[in-house]
């Protein structure tokens, strides 16, 4: 693979990851070749230990493969330095975690604007974009609250706002509905699908949740570190 197509957001080539568990090598990923195009709403599914976590870590640049290469937005992650990778994640990847993982000592507004602060966005613009984003995720009027003053569903909405506010190329969501009740989960999924349609942002979910699987337009199943199967609906 010399060059990615213009619409290819993620391209992996023969990605292999081997961990040493108590000195015994364990193959978490076995030669994954995958292309994800911009605007996809994709779910990565599979049983525990199938390699979903490892795969998300590798395509986000949080971990490096033992073998193989990853291109994200046309750039080879393996060729970037530590600082370049940090900047690249800041500008291109939005993260949504299962446990929300907002910074508890920062207010909702400060949590959402954090990435823009890193990117050096001026204060006035930050403030405006945060308020717009909070309104988009249905959290108007909570900007000055702290995460502990919000419900789980509201915290996950803040996490979505934080992930999307800097308009990244791709959103990686780890079990985003796992800690939510069915209704809140369904509402958030609808909202993310709507944002996906509106903005064209790429969403990749790692999930066990049938609700997510139902709404995904592409379902990639991982089993023993291999793709089996990859279905587009």
């Amino acid at each position: 693979m010399e060059q990615t197509q213009k619409t290819d957001v993620i391209v992996t080539e023969d990605v292999t990851k081997v961990y040493a568990a108590n000195g015994i090598p364990v193959n978490a990923l076995n030669g994954i070749d995958l292309t994800i195009e911009s605007g996809e709403f994709t779910a990565l599914v599979g049983p525990s230990g199938s390699g979903k976590t490892t795969f998300l870590n590798i395509i986000s640049g949080l971990d490096s493969p033992t073998e193989g290469k990853v291109w994200l937005a046309g750039k080879a992650l393996s060729e970037m330095s530590g600082n370049e990778l940090s900047d690249f994640r800041r500008d291109n990847i939005g993260f949504i975690f299962q446990a929300y993982n907002l910074i508890p000592v920062l207010t909702v507004e400060e949590n959402v604007e954090y990435i823009m602060l890193l990117a050096g966005v001026p204060k006035a613009e930050r403030h405006e974009r945060v308020l717009t984003m909070l309104e988009t995720v249905g959290l108007k009027g909570v900007a000055n609250r702290t995460p502990t003053q919000l419900s789980g569903g509201q915290q996950q909405r803040v996490a979505i706002a934080r992930a999307m506010v800097s308009e990244p190329t791709i959103i990686l969501a780890d079990e985003p509905t796992a800690n939510l009740d069915s209704k809140t989960g369904a509402d958030l999924l609808e909202m993310m699908r709507h944002l996906n349609s509106e903005t064209g942002m790429t969403f990749i979910f790692s999930t066990h949740d049938p609700m997510v699987m139902e709404r995904a337009r592409r379902l990639i199943t991982l089993r023993d570190g291999r793709i089996d199967p990859d279905e587009t609906r």
Partner: protein
């Protein structure tokens, strides 16, 4: 970015209040100990010097060269009139007194004892020594009786004499070496915590002493009190050169009591050693606190790294936290240090009667506070806190986000 790092540090410090309070208290106790120890050392040094110089020694002395080694009665101060006139006009000199010193023997009907017989000029002697203040029985040369002798309580006990009893003092004359004997009446008994002063000295009027050893109006020693004790440690002061002429030598207490100078140097070194130990305790306390806080929030640091915070930015957050912890600790430590030191400076610490290198403490030690203690030590604690914070900061900066977020995806 700096703004958010400061905000994160400040808020994180108060996130686990109990831990912060415990850590800040530990660090502030270290700072308090540093401030107090410094104040105590200054107080102790000042008390030691004051005790050593004010009891009898004086802050400086003039002798004939060789007198201190040989203690020969014939080695009297040269050009005494010129020296005395000059001292009277010396701006750095507050008081001075002349003395005659000779070894001799004192005899009572019951016993005999070797003594240093000291001839003093009572009106000026009282500015240079504390004999008059230490009188416990009788009076200090009140009447104009040349046969008055003042002795220490221990010597009175050895001789089995009391006020008004007669004693005989025997000395050798300066030039001929012939024995000279005089009878005296005990007119005063003094008590000093210093055993040597209590048992081995007897004071008579200077004229009588000069007469007994036949040295005319000559003297062996001039004890001096300066307008400031700081002059004693100023080797560039012209005084030393001016009065070290005509075969005489002018020496500061630091040279007269070199063992005390060594003690003071030792206390300074001990201060450094204790300081290093205290700083070590403070540093490890900080590292421990920061690491506890760090491991508790490992996942959070992973999230910050994941969303694009650079390694240096992560290190900055930890360093700012260390700085915030230092600020809180310094605030506490300065207040606590002031209160503890002020309290003990007010009440004093009782070391009286304890002998240190030939100087017996005669007064309470009062810690001495200086502005520097409240500036220098807090700056050191702040700097050391930041230095201590470098290790956990480096740890966080080098941490792989995936390791920190092991529980994430």
């Amino acid at each position: 970015m700096w703004w958010i790092s400061v905000k994160l540090a400040r808020r994180n410090i108060f996130r686990n209040k109990r831990r912060t309070i415990i850590a800040a208290t530990a660090i502030s106790i270290g700072l308090t100990a540093l401030i107090f120890m410094d104040a105590l050392m200054i107080g102790m040094q000042e008390t030691l010097v004051r005790t050593a110089t004010a009891s009898f020694l004086g802050e400086a002395q003039i002798h004939r060269e060789g007198f201190r080694d040989k203690q020969e009665a014939s080695l009297t101060i040269q050009a005494l009139d010129e020296v005395t006139r000059s001292l009277a006009e010396e701006p750095t000199v507050q008081h001075f007194t002349q003395r005659v010193l000779v070894s001799g023997m004192i005899t009572s009907p019951a016993n005999v004892s070797a003594i240093n017989l000291i001839g003093v000029h009572p009106p000026t002697e009282k500015f240079l020594s504390l004999i008059d203040d230490a009188i416990t029985e009788g009076v200090y040369f009140e009447a104009d009786n040349s046969r008055d002798v003042i002795i220490g309580a221990k010597l009175a006990e050895i001789l089995e004499v009391g006020l008004g009893d007669r004693v005989v003092v025997t000395v050798s004359q300066a030039k001929t070496g012939e024995l000279s004997q005089e009878m005296f009446r005990v007119s005063g008994i003094y008590y000093f915590p210093d055993e040597g002063m209590n048992s081995g000295m007897a004071f008579i009027r200077i004229q009588k002493a000069q007469e007994m050893i036949a040295i005319g109006s000559d003297v062996h020693e001039i004890a001096i009190k300066f307008t400031s004790i700081a002059y004693t440690q100023d080797s560039t002061l012209p005084f030393w050169k001016t009065y070290s002429q005509h075969g005489n030598e002018a020496l500061s207490w630091t040279e007269l009591m070199p063992q005390l100078t060594v003690v003071l140097q030792m206390t300074t070194y001990s201060k450094y050693i204790v300081g290093v130990i205290l700083f070590g305790v403070v540093v490890f306390g900080i590292i421990n606190t920061l690491f506890m806080s760090l491991y508790e929030r490992m996942f959070e640091f992973g999230v910050l790294r994941a969303v694009g915070t650079r390694p240096l930015g992560m290190a900055r957050v930890v360093l700012f936290e260390a700085g915030a912890l230092a600020m809180v600790s310094i605030g506490l430590g300065v207040i606590l240090g002031f209160l503890v030191t002020a309290l003990l400076a007010h009440t004093g610490i009782d070391y009286t009667g304890i002998e240190m290198m030939g100087v017996t403490m005669q007064e309470l030690i009062r810690p001495v506070m200086t502005v520097g203690q409240f500036i220098v030590y807090p700056i050191w604690v702040f700097a050391f806190t930041l230095i201590a914070g470098l290790y956990p900061a480096r740890h966080v900066a080098k941490m792989a986000p995936v390791d920190a977020m092991r529980r994430s995806f």
